[in-house]
């Protein structure tokens, strides 16, 4: 079996020679082997391919000179597997005649090399038969009864499509390298030249000179869907340029989704996609469960609903009555198992409200642990819930900054309180509550003290490192230089504010601003963010329960 990765690879030639061809789609949990052989900053996809090739028994791998990372992957594979057919096909970026001519020549060289390696023979007539048998299949599939989503950008693996399917959304098109059907051209007058022209004439990827033509097709395709997912791969920078360009003119809601091709990030991807689907105006309701609630609800009895926000640091619950009054709320630290903490907060909030489990008509869970709460009737992402909760506490809010334990996010609301856009940072600890905890430990102060002492700072210290690990080292150096704790704490608060500012800028800076999450209780960070954005932040009395309140509001909407 020969592996390949690129749509420009002449797969049909190898098939006509009797080779079994497989497109390598890495499905790995770690890059343990890749990181021993390649620099960690190489694109995640290339590292994933290396892991796959090392684990499985390929006869060889056909690579194209598609990008810097793949060129370096070739170097490593050749070194690791000198006995295998590791071939680098030099693929031109120009699709005009000169490109076709040189690519045809390259492909003929490759055929000879494979004949030498495998002792198989290329037969033009078998190849022609293979080409004639193929036809282009349909690439667009819009369904009227579902939310239609288009996928654009860097190669996307099946997990994105599966999440969309799980949520009842239809993938109307996939314009990434993995979604496009092959375009085969059969030209009697020059079979090989026609075939090569067809290969190079496919919908261009970002490495091709003519990628400017992408705009037109993207514009046309996007017009038929409810929303677009723009996919990028970590450490592959090429597609971000296109995102930066089309976000200014795209007239459909668009989600920028970065993945790293490992299974580890599956939960984060799910949250982003589900939040995006929830934010679409045409999101469909899944209301079959409600029938039971309506049937059993006694009309003359007060109605209560519950929202539970299972975050990485705290698990929060809110009970609300049918008039949107908060009857009770509770906050507990999240332990090792989010399900246990949810049970704990459930009991605590019921107790504080003086209610029984049977009194609660509908429970909506949210937060990272939302899917691990068995007694919830429904789960909704924390992005939608924070939006809903923020609008409830202050209807003038249009921009939310939520800094939680393990991620931070900026959410943009419409004046009506609907989520219009959001960005998340959950790739690194910098700019999150965890980062503050880490620094507080280093400074030997409690988390609460960190914010208060920052306010007493007299000298500005800039923490320049963008990575939390580097920043911690920087703080240790500052301690070693006898700098004041208050000044260091203030520097750390400003570092968080700078990160937050980047997120807020990306969703647009529309006043009024609100800050939610546990870090909103830190006066040092609040002051630093206010200085950076030049606006006051609205912070409600219990900033940790905004998500849970939003979840309760969703529950009320559901049963009303």
């Amino acid at each position: 079996m020969l592996g390949y990765i690129c749509k420009y690879a002449p797969v049909e030639i190898f098939e006509s020679m009797g080779a079994d061809m497989e497109r390598i789609e890495p499905d790995v949990t770690s890059f343990n082997q890749a990181e021993q052989r390649m620099h960690p900053n190489i694109c995640s996809f290339a590292k994933g391919v290396l892991e796959e090739v090392m684990d499985r028994d390929y006869e060889g791998v056909i690579l194209t000179t598609c990008c810097d990372s793949i060129r370096r992957l070739y170097d490593v594979l050749v070194e690791e597997f000198p006995q295998k057919f590791i071939y680098m096909l030099d693929t031109p970026r120009i699709t005009k005649d000169a490109g076709v001519t040189i690519y045809e020549q390259r492909i003929r060289d490759m055929i000879r090399a494979y004949e030498d390696f495998s002792k198989k023979v290329f037969d033009q007539s078998v190849f022609e038969a293979r080409l004639r048998a193929d036809h282009e299949s349909r690439q667009f599939n819009v369904k009227s009864d579902q939310v239609n989503i288009g996928i654009i950008g860097a190669r996307a693996n099946d997990s994105i499509k599966e999440i969309l399917k799980d949520n009842g959304a239809n993938v109307a098109f996939d314009l990434t390298c993995t979604g496009l059907e092959r375009r085969l051209v059969y030209d009697e007058k020059g079979v090989m030249t026609g075939y090569v022209r067809g290969l190079l004439g496919q919908f261009p990827c970002m490495r091709m000179e003519q990628a400017a033509n992408r705009d037109e097709l993207i514009r046309k395709s996007a017009g038929s869907v409810d929303g677009v997912i723009y996919h990028t791969v970590q450490f592959c920078d090429n597609y971000a340029y296109e995102y930066a360009w089309i976000k200014d003119w795209m007239d459909r809601p668009m989600l920028l989704l970065e993945t790293d091709y490992t299974r580890q990030s599956c939960g984060q991807i799910r949250t982003r996609i589900e939040a995006f689907l929830e934010s679409l105006p045409s999101a469909k309701d899944n209301s079959h469960k409600l029938k039971e609630v309506h049937e059993t609800m006694e009309k003359n009895k007060p109605v209560y609903v519950m929202g539970i926000d299972s975050g990485s640091t705290s698990t929060n619950a809110v009970i609300m009555d049918q008039n949107k009054n908060i009857r009770a709320f509770a906050v507990v630290r999240t332990g090792a198992k989010s399900g246990d903490s949810a049970h704990k907060v459930y009991g605590k909030v019921l107790n504080s409200a003086g209610l029984e489990p049977k009194d609660i008509s509908w429970i909506v869970s949210t937060g990272y642990g939302r899917v691990s709460i068995p007694f919830a009737d429904e789960n909704i992402t924390e992005i939608s819930c924070h939006g809903k909760g923020a609008h409830y506490f202050n209807p003038n809010i249009q921009t939310i900054l939520d800094i939680g334990g393990q991620d931070s996010k900026a959410i943009r609301l419409s004046p009506e309180g609907d989520v219009k856009d959001f960005v998340m940072n959950d790739k690194c600890a910098a700019g999150t509550g965890r980062f503050l905890e880490m620094i507080a430990r280093t400074l030997e102060v409690s988390l609460d003290e960190l914010g208060t002492i920052a306010l007493t700072s007299t000298e500005n210290i800039e923490i320049t490192s963008m990575c939390s690990v580097f920043a911690e080292s920087e703080v240790i150096s500052l301690i070693a230089n006898n700098r004041e704790k208050a000044d260091i704490a203030n520097g750390v608060c400003h570092a968080i504010a700078n990160k937050a500012y980047g997120l807020l800028r990306r969703v647009g800076m529309a006043p009024e601003f609100m800050m939610t999450g546990g870090v909103a209780k830190n006066p040092g960070v609040v002051r630093a963010v206010e200085e950076k954005i030049g606006h006051k932040l609205y912070i409600c009395q219990e900033p940790e329960i905004v998500g849970a309140a939003g979840a309760a509001l969703y529950a009320l909407e559901k049963i009303s």
């Binding site: 620099h39 000179t65 990372s69 020549q105 920078d237 340029y241 580097f470």
Partner: protein, 433 residues
């Protein structure tokens, strides 16, 4: 310096507050610096390096002052063809460095990232995109880029064409080294010459290009001689002078004045004493701002960078009778093109010529094509018994280079070299006894 620092801070503040109104101030600073270098050259460095920095500052300041005098390029763009039209090539990588003279790289990088450009992209490209996108820097009439040596080139120039309307020529450099590749690229270079003629007027003179390549051949030979001398003599300079040399070898190569400068440096270095310290061959970019590296390699008699691979990334003589083919061959044979084993061989050849005590490769943030094969280069150096250090950091963005980590690695490596020398000496003494 106090006045200079004040001005730098003032320009930075003004650019952040009003990017679209700050160009005059940025340009004035470059011109003042050029004047300063002429009348008050940097103290403590060699005359050759003083002349080198003045030439580079003048080149940038004078070009930027006349928007019709230059085109944008990348560092591997064929400046020789552009020179034939009386135009200069300002590479985006070098301009990014000059903007960082105002410590503006963080503002520009954040600007680009906030627009959606990937944080993992090379910081030179991000700085440049942010500078242009923010409106702080005006745009020229035309641009050119090669696909060599990174994916960012085509995408950065295409992005700026769309956003700011700067048309460009794209030169697709094949990966393979064979006659078909040379032919393919030579045709593109010819078309590029014609495109410049159509846009800027005049006819393309192939003989004039041949003359420039002749000067280029002489310059490359002279530089080789200079590097050989630099491995023998202590020649006071700073990290940034290696970047200036790299810049000259890519943007001023083919000009008489640059050849004369290298010849002057050859004569100048002969007046300096013998160098007894550790000789370092540097691979890839140099973070000129980095404190620890400055403390070890700026005018230090114990450790000297004797050459950087990027200044000698093309090593062969060119056939001046076939200028387009010669240029095509030069670009295809560049050390940064093709497989990494090709690069390892070329670096190995350089090492055999210059006999360094050690090699340092700097893995610049975002540069996949270089960082990706660093472990392979280390294997090659091990075969040649040359110690090699891989340093991670950022050539321009100070926030991505952590001084503590660089210091620990570098000092441990230099200690290791010193111990190796002591061990070798005692072994020799034992043999003599």
């Amino acid at each position: 310096m106090w006045i200079a620092d004040k001005y730098i801070n003032y320009v930075k503040e003004q650019t952040i507050a009003h990017p679209e109104e700050s160009w005059g101030k940025i340009l004035l600073g470059f011109r003042l610096n050029k004047f300063r270098m002429k009348v008050l050259p940097t103290k403590g460095i060699s005359k050759g390096n003083q002349r080198l920095e003045t030439m580079m500052m003048s080149f940038v300041a004078d070009s930027l002052a006349r928007p019709d005098s230059y085109v944008w390029g990348n560092i591997f763009a064929p400046c020789e063809i552009i020179q034939c039209f009386g135009l200069n090539t300002l590479s985006i990588e070098c301009l990014a460095c000059y903007f960082s003279g105002y410590h503006l790289e963080d503002f520009f990088i954040d600007h680009a990232q906030n627009a959606g450009i990937a944080p993992t992209l090379c910081s030179y490209h991000k700085t440049f995109v942010g500078a242009i996108d923010s409106g702080a820097v005006p745009v020229p009439e035309y641009a050119v880029t090669t696909s060599l040596s990174c994916d960012g080139n085509l995408n950065t120039f295409r992005y700026l064409e769309k956003k700011k309307g700067v048309p460009f020529t794209f030169l697709d450099v094949p990966y393979r080294d064979d006659p078909a590749s040379v032919e393919y690229l030579a045709e593109q270079l010819k078309d590029f010459g014609n495109a410049l003629a159509a846009r800027f007027g005049g006819r393309f003179d192939a003989a004039a290009l041949g003359q420039r390549l002749d000067i280029e051949n002489q310059t490359r030979k002279a530089l080789e001689e200079f590097f050989r001398l630099q491995s023998e003599r202590y020649y006071p300079g700073e990290l940034i002078h290696h970047l200036y040399l790299m810049m000259g070898m890519h943007l001023l190569i083919g000009t008489r004045e640059f050849l004369d400068l290298i010849r002057f440096m050859i004569e100048d270095i002969k007046t300096y004493p013998k160098f007894d310290g550790k000789k370092i061959l540097w691979v890839h970019l140099i973070p000129f701002y980095q404190e620890t590296l400055q403390s070890y390699f700026n005018t230090n008699k114990k450790y000297q960078i004797i050459a950087c691979d990027m200044s000698m990334d093309s090593m062969e003589a060119m056939d001046i009778t076939k200028p387009f083919h010669a240029l095509a061959r030069k670009i295809i044979h560049n050390l940064y093109n093709g497989s990494y084993s090709n690069k390892a061989q070329m670096v190995g050849r350089l090492a055999r010529k210059l006999q360094p005590d050690a090699l340092i490769q700097f893995c610049h943030w975002g540069c996949k094509q270089s960082s990706g094969g660093s472990l392979l280069l280390k294997e090659k150096m091990q075969e040649m018994n040359i110690p090699m250090l891989i340093l991670d950091g950022d050539g321009i963005d100070r926030r991505n280079s952590h001084d503590g980590q660089i210091r620990t690695r570098l000092e441990a490596f230099l200690e290791m070299l010193d111990e190796k020398e002591t061990a070798e000496e005692s072994e020799r003494e034992e043999q003599i006894c």
